[in-house]
Symmetry: C2
Subunit: 225 residues, 2 copies
DNA sequence: GCGAGGATCAGGGGCGTCCCCGATGGTGGG
DNA sequence: CCCACCATCGGGGACGCCCCTGATCCTCGC
């Protein structure tokens, strides 16, 4: 929004490391940044895979890393996981606009995510904003992130499985996933332990799980708790 | 970033409902929007509490609701919860920059969060971006949201408990929390089931938990998996 | 009416979980 | 040297989890 002098250097050049496995694409981005970002952005180094990227980040401690999501050696998330760079912010730059890529990358610690359809000036603006501490998303992607954060995402995907459960089964499932023992579920729902067992049996079968532990993780992954 | 014709009206006026319990502040915002946002933003209605806000949103179906976080009758989150307005986006406008307010509001479904230190032109720009589907945060706040989302919060608090575990106990704990049975942990670590039981006993005691289910949730909440 | 499916419950069995008791060996500090 | 702590293991027991078979009652739709 407005320059924030506490969040990053706005007077000096913003230093950038560029990570992408396609040399041609790196060349293009670099050219765009040198054209549209002259006087604003400076590319310190490039990297073509995870190992190179980690080394480059460690060596140059850039303000911003432009990070491809799909990358030989583990993907962009792996780069962030293996990099210990407090002053560095990661901006994902990917062809993918799939929700799982976006969300996974944000979970991994990226401060923004833009698609490769972006233009040079827009990319420069995005880098600038990320370096100032702002979060940047292509408009189309912002919804994914906030929806996921609000816990309302992938309900569509879940529903295929979840809809096959009856109302009562869902109640039992919710309590079990939250760590209730069968006995406690029974008391909570005013039914016998045996009925709880019957419902759980159905739940596990319908969700293709084999134990309450898997159920806990399943529900936790989908934020159903 | 760039106008996205699929995400919202950019040619017409962006319609706004203004929710704040202070008439003086509403008046000020309205004046700013009419000055800086002339030809861009149009305020359809104002509301001073949750009930009024819900009614105003339902009646006018605005593009954007400028929403105070602390509000008589339940707060801004309550307004979003009770409003069924698919085409409407909520932009929180608050004095508070507390992490819990920001995160709670985003969880509640807001598409952005700016503080009242914002200037008129910045607010107009924020409204415009939100109406286009983008996410807007004051730079200082973006960090909260993404940190919370990446789950890197409260790691400091964990260490106090976690440090009391021995190395071996941590290994066992990690596997158990991931859903391994005692038998599987034993095989994985080349020790007997009995040793696994001993370690688990220590882990549960030290973490003040009473079952592996609680441990799973404990670790899951802290993203130690 | 009759079958399908949902909700309720029982008995019994195999195995997992968690605890109690105990034991041995290693390691490091007072 | 002894004590504290750790890692390793065992027996045995109470209870929880999950499955199986089998049952009753209800509702809904054909």
């Amino acid at each position: 929004m407005s320059p924030d002098p506490t969040a990053g250097p706005t007077t000096d050049l913003i230093t950038v490391v560029l990570v992408d496995d396609h040399a041609m694409f790196r060349r293009g981005v670099r050219a765009e940044l040198e054209a549209a970002g002259a006087g604003v952005v400076r590319v310190l180094a490039e990297a073509a895979d995870v190992d190179e990227a980690v080394r480059a980040v460690a060596a140059h401690a850039p303000d911003v890393v432009l990070l491809d999501v799909h990358l030989p050696g583990g993907g962009g998330v792996e780069v962030m996981r293996r990099s210990n760079a407090p002053g560095t912010r990661f901006l994902a730059l990917s062809v993918s606009d799939a929700a799982e890529d976006v969300i996974g990358t944000i979970r991994g610690g990226a401060r923004g995510y833009v698609t490769k359809t972006i233009t040079g000036p827009e990319l420069v603006a995005a880098i600038k904003r990320v370096s100032e501490g702002d979060a940047v998303f292509s408009p189309r992607l912002a919804g994914f992130v906030l929806d996921a954060f609000a816990g309302s995402i992938e309900l569509a995907a879940v529903d295929e499985d979840l809809d096959r459960l009856t109302e009562r089964e869902r109640e039992v499932m919710r309590l079990i996933a939250r760590g209730y023992a069968y006995k406690e579920v029974a008391k909570e729902l005013f039914i016998s332990i045996k009925t709880v067992e019957t419902h759980m049996s159905s739940v596990l079968r319908k969700l293709q799980l084999s134990s309450r532990h898997e159920l806990t993780r399943w529900a936790s992954d989908r934020r159903l708790l």
